[in-house]
């Protein structure tokens, strides 16, 4: 029994965005599902591998974004790439939308089944395959999360450092081009995916760099690997990813420093990077956030713009790195520079940064939080932060700021009452102004979270009509009938 009520709602979430009109699922979907495509699915992945239960479908229609749940018509649980391919062929034959699902930890509504269809939950494909310690690479299936992989690697001296916060599926991280606090030193998914195995909409299995290949670099042909990275399930279902691994740091030092102004904090960041200090994490918290963290965790940091830094390296080299950073902060008027080497003190120093999300929520109990996500060149960061903070005050909004300042990427954690439509509307307008402010400064409307449902119009503004046409051309080449995760990244074409 299909419930069409979900699909007939607009997707206005906390940010109050009125989405484009939701496409009513084509009659093909309803009748195909009603007419026994379910038994075809069952013959591929077994009785237990297909679910039409309402609870299961709801679970697979939402992620951690503010977008409302948009459940698929059915959820399938393939166990291997052959099953994924067979299921895709069935969907293709019946023109059923396909929505890949990893851990459901996305932040932009990427798994919303806006046209109904079939959710491919890949959680049963959970093997770590082919670890090559001497080559620093490993291949994993979509059910492997980043914490599970690092736990698997724990005796080897290797780790996978991309850390978006959530314990996300690594293939899902590839699909959304995930990043995190470590990107300034170790890069994002774009720099760390060597190869992908992908099932296309018609069931063909594509190896983006060739089957089993894992050279550290290549000049062979079009870069299909990075075409698929960040494609958010709109070009194919990722069933394997080959990742670049790094040595676990010998030693880690954490440091904290506060500044008289945003400019001083950003200047310090730029200079630390220019000085060649290989800082592993450099995070910015604004005064509102520092205040929230002080209250939440009973700390007594100065309520002013602050930097939280982390250094990775060999025992000897860390002292130099810390000293260089400390000199730079002092030069820019920084004060209260503290640093620590042992795990317990480092934990305490970074507690403010770790608790940022909860500290923000605690500012207004009963409210929900939504993270904005823009990225600009470093030199424009002070200006965009100052203008954004002014906008927050004028708009009477609560939005403590935390940023991966080494990348020019920051998040306003908008704390908003989900039952106050007027406030939701103000947040919606603020978020659009913020994205356009970032675009005006040569930046991007999404540093890490992806385009998903909510930023499709902004993407068009950002890349321009020619890029959008080219993207549409690529989409048409790989998925001419728009079965792969419809409604994401690209707006529906004008007829």
């Amino acid at each position: 029994m299909m419930t069409s009520s979900y699909r007939n709602q607009t997707h206005s979430g906390v940010a109050g965005r009125a989405q484009d009109v939701v496409h009513v699922p084509p009659p093909a979907v309803q009748s195909a599902v009603a007419h026994g495509v379910l038994s075809a699915f069952r013959s591929v992945c077994g009785e237990d591998g297909v679910s039409s239960g309402e609870a299961v479908r709801e679970q697979h229609g939402r992620d951690e974004s503010v977008h409302r749940c948009c459940p698929p018509d059915v959820v399938v649980f393939p166990r291997c790439v052959e099953e994924v391919s067979a299921l895709a062929k069935i969907c293709s034959r019946h023109s059923l939308p396909i929505i890949p699902f990893g851990t459901g930890t996305g932040l932009e509504g990427g798994v919303s089944a806006v046209k109904g269809g079939v959710c491919f939950s890949l959680r049963n494909m959970d093997q770590v395959l082919d670890l090559h310690q001497d080559d620093f690479d490993v291949t994993v299936e979509p059910g492997v999360t980043r914490k599970a992989l690092n736990s698997y690697l724990r005796g080897t001296g290797l780790w996978f450092p991309v850390d978006p916060g959530a314990d996300a599926s690594l293939c899902g991280m590839a699909a959304t081009s995930a990043s995190g606090t470590n990107a300034v030193r170790y890069g994002t998914m774009r720099e760390n995916v060597l190869n992908l195995e992908v099932v296309l909409a018609d069931g063909r299995v594509l190896h983006t760099a060739g089957k089993g290949r894992r050279p550290r670099k290549t000049a062979a042909g079009y870069n299909l690997t990075n075409l698929l990275v960040g494609s958010e399930g709109t070009l194919g279902i990722i069933t394997k990813t080959t990742l670049r691994l790094y040595g676990v740091p010998e030693a880690t030092v954490a440091a904290v420093c506060s500044f008289p102004s945003v400019q001083a904090a950003v200047d310090s960041t730029v200079q630390v990077l220019q000085a060649g200090v290989p800082v592993a994490r450099i995070e910015f918290l604004d005064d509102v956030m520092m205040d929230a963290c002080n209250r939440f965790s009973s700390l007594s940091y100065a309520v002013s713009p602050s930097l939280f830094l982390e250094f990775h390296g060999a025992e000897g080299s860390l002292e130099e790195q810390v000293k260089a950073a400390e000199d730079i902060t002092r030069y820019n008027g920084g004060s209260g520079f503290q640093w620590a080497k042992d795990a317990a003190t480092r934990e305490r120093l970074w507690k403010a940064r770790h608790d940022a999300w909860y500290a923000s929520l605690a500012l207004r109990p009963g409210c929900k939080a939504y993270a904005t996500d823009v990225c600009v060149p470093l030199s424009r960061l002070p200006q965009v932060l100052v203008e954004t903070k002014e906008d927050l005050i004028e708009s009477r909004l609560t939005g403590p700021i935390v940023g991966h300042v080494g990348d020019g990427n920051f998040h306003c954690l908008m704390v908003v009452d989900p039952d106050d439509p007027e406030e939701l509307h103000r947040v919606h307008l603020f978020v659009e102004r913020l994205a356009r402010r970032a675009l005006a400064m040569d930046g991007t409307c999404t540093g890490e979270h992806g385009v998903g449902l909510g930023k499709r119009a902004l993407l068009r503004e950002e890349t321009g009509p020619v890029a959008v046409q080219v993207m549409q051309g690529v989409k048409d080449a790989l998925d001419p009938r728009n079965l792969m995760n419809p409604g994401k990244i690209l707006l529906p074409r004008e007829l």
Binding site: S151, G155, T156, G157, W159, V248, E250, A314, A343
Partner: protein, 254 residues
Amino acid sequence: MSGRVLVGVKRVIDYAVKIRVKPDNSGVVTDGVKHSMNPFCEIAVEEAVKLKEKKFIKEVVAVSCGPQQAQETIRTALAMGADRGIHVEVTGKDYDTLGPLQVSKIFAALAKKEDAQLLILGKQAIDDDCNQTGQMTAALLDWPQGTFASEVSLEGDKIKVVREIDGGLETIKINTPAVLTADLRLNTPRYATLPNIMKAKKKKIAQVKPADLGVDITSRLEVLRVDEPPQRLAGVTVETVDDLVAKLKESGTI
């Protein structure tokens, strides 16, 4: 005091692996399955290495009983900071039937031979969940024991141990030499780094047999059968209280 600490480390099926019972119900499938150091043993090694870093003790010796692959587990301990290893060779059927009583006899013999000041073990292994080896070893040696330790501090020739017990925490002070068993919250084990893994390759692992230590490892236990837990059946929805009572009576529950 010798300043030497012995740490027992057991090679077990990795905690993240889905366990499968062999078709003949004689045991679980171990061939081709990922193995690693028992998580509580990792915590024990970390505690020993920390004590050495704080200069309370001088040498950490990692001990494991089993076939050739047990040496991998010892190497992991060496990469975490242990100084040398002892591999007690037990293979084949003997290994299949090796349990806490035999292992504690081996550890007791080694503790005496190595003049150990302290023996640290994980509180239990995640494959058998016995939680016996530490206690048995202490009894055989007639040493005091600080089990389920969540905090350990050396105070002169005594040890203060905070133990996790059902009602909360219990603090005891025991003499050395002593046996400690590590509980979950004692510490967070460090990851082995590549340079330390390379250094560990050069550290020594001595080989001994149980007979060399005068220990008889014949088992007094025989495993008859291993079964998976029963499959959970689907629930049944009832419409009324009367239906519920009828069903409960039907199933003999009331």
